[in-house]
Symmetry: C3
Subunit: 208 residues, 3 copies
């Protein structure tokens, strides 16, 4: 595999989400292999959904063993340093955010490469960025992260839109990757730090 920045981002997101999955699984008191499996599913979830929707099969982690070895390595590191990571407080949040940022951009890029419409590429990016965290939370019976009012999805969408706009000007692609990934990450960090929230909508009571 030629190691393009696309691959590097994909790998970085894999490591970040593997760590976040391992931490969540340890919180649920899973055993060694349970921790690994949650780390694995969290790490590959977004990229797998991206590849399956676009028809790029076998999916990316099947074509190269680097993903599975890295997930194994970061699961072990997360287990060894679990107390240190804990004292770093916001670690789970941080890893989740990094994964979100870089996977969103790989999703948008995949859409554009496949000549999809820009707005559809942004939607693919948002699904790629969020899916790993969503299945991690569903499997671990956590409230899915997209509901914790942290403008999670919004960060994806803003980063994705920035990507497709920058893409129209002849800016170096690698630079676009880095700028837009950081956009997603910074938005989420700032929003959480300053407790910014978009409005939600009042409904009298349960409909239906």
């Amino acid at each position: 595999m030629e190691l393009s920045l696309f691959n590097i981002l994909d790998i970085l997101g894999t490591m970040a989400f593997a760590t976040s999955g391992a931490l969540t699984a340890m919180n649920r008191k899973l055993d060694l292999f349970g921790v690994f499996i949650i780390a694995f599913v969290t790490a590959i979830g977004g990229g797998t959904l991206r590849d399956v929707l676009i028809g790029n099969t076998p999916v990316i982690w099947m074509e190269n063993t680097i993903y599975i070895y890295l997930i194994g390595l970061f699961t072990i590191l997360a287990i060894i340093f679990r107390k240190k990571i804990y004292y770093l407080r916001r670690s789970l949040f941080l890893f989740d955010t990094i994964g979100l940022g870089v996977f969103t951009i790989t999703g948008v890029e995949t859409g554009i490469r496949n000549e999809l419409d820009p707005i559809i590429s942004v939607a693919l990016g948002a699904m790629t960025g969020t899916f790993g965290g969503v299945i991690r939370d569903i499997l671990c019976n956590e409230i899915p992260v997209i509901f914790r009012r942290e403008i999670y999805a919004t960060a994806c969408l803003v980063g994705g839109v920035a990507f497709v706009i920058l893409y129209r000007y002849n800016i170096d692609h690698d630079l676009i990757y880095i700028i837009t990934s950081l956009t997603v990450i910074v938005i989420r960090l700032v929003v959480v730090k300053y407790k910014i929230a978009l409005p939600s909508f009042y409904l009298p009571e349960k409909t239906g």
Copy 2:
């Protein structure tokens, strides 16, 4: 895109499920983009599963922007008219039922077009019809709609069987689409209105 009745049904189901997703998400007090994302996933869920299982990738909403714009539009409409929709009481139920009816039939039709066995086409139809609502409910921590004892799945199966039977006689396809979609919708409406329920099965206590 040539706008066949198949496409029209697919779009109608998309609008109905988008609305039902937006209503459910507002019930969960999600913010603007959260509401859009749930509407999106609910609306495209069934068709995406159908296309992925059959190998028709990129999936349908990626090939044409009309889906994403309609989902955006109906999310906004659902937000603006949320109180009116609320006072219409059974709105969520109604939109869910329309989506169920038309998506079931697009699933059955897709199976038959791909020369699958009729009974397999009916199964594909049932999965296409129910999947959007199931992921909406899983993501929103609602009890999945298929468990509310409303003969939800049964309506799909009856409509699907009607489709494959009518298909054998040389009846106009568009007529079949309309009859069978309405069959699913009417069965569900009647069943809920008259509180009809199929029997469930007594088990002494939890096995396993």
Copy 3:
């Protein structure tokens, strides 16, 4: 369809998981079609995920009606004999374990046939083995079986590794299938009988 041992295992797993799905659905007091749908999704879940990830579409149960008829048959048998099965106590557990064992091996074999790396084939096997049970439990609001500390995932991984090791020596493939499927099943049975558990990891309190 030529009935190779691969197909036989796939069918055996389908029957076992259909039964486990039907039992779980009856526990949740679903009606007749609800029971069938959960049985169906549980039975085809693992194989469908396997085929979608590898790009083998339409997925296996669409190409041959034997799956859907068998699932129907075993759903009816599970309903008829539900009290007898109940008195056999560990039935749900037993059927789940058989499904786990044989589906894991079909997943590993599919990976190797598609010339994937052995470790990736093991991961594919673990996902194939566990996915049906996971969606059954998510749909039925049960705590997913992989969290019940029964070394569920571990059994898959050990069986999968045994498969790829035996595969390197020129042992008859059918023999490998049987040995490794039984390995998964026996490990899980022994582990539960003797309440063996892998260690989980202490974390001071909720991170994140």
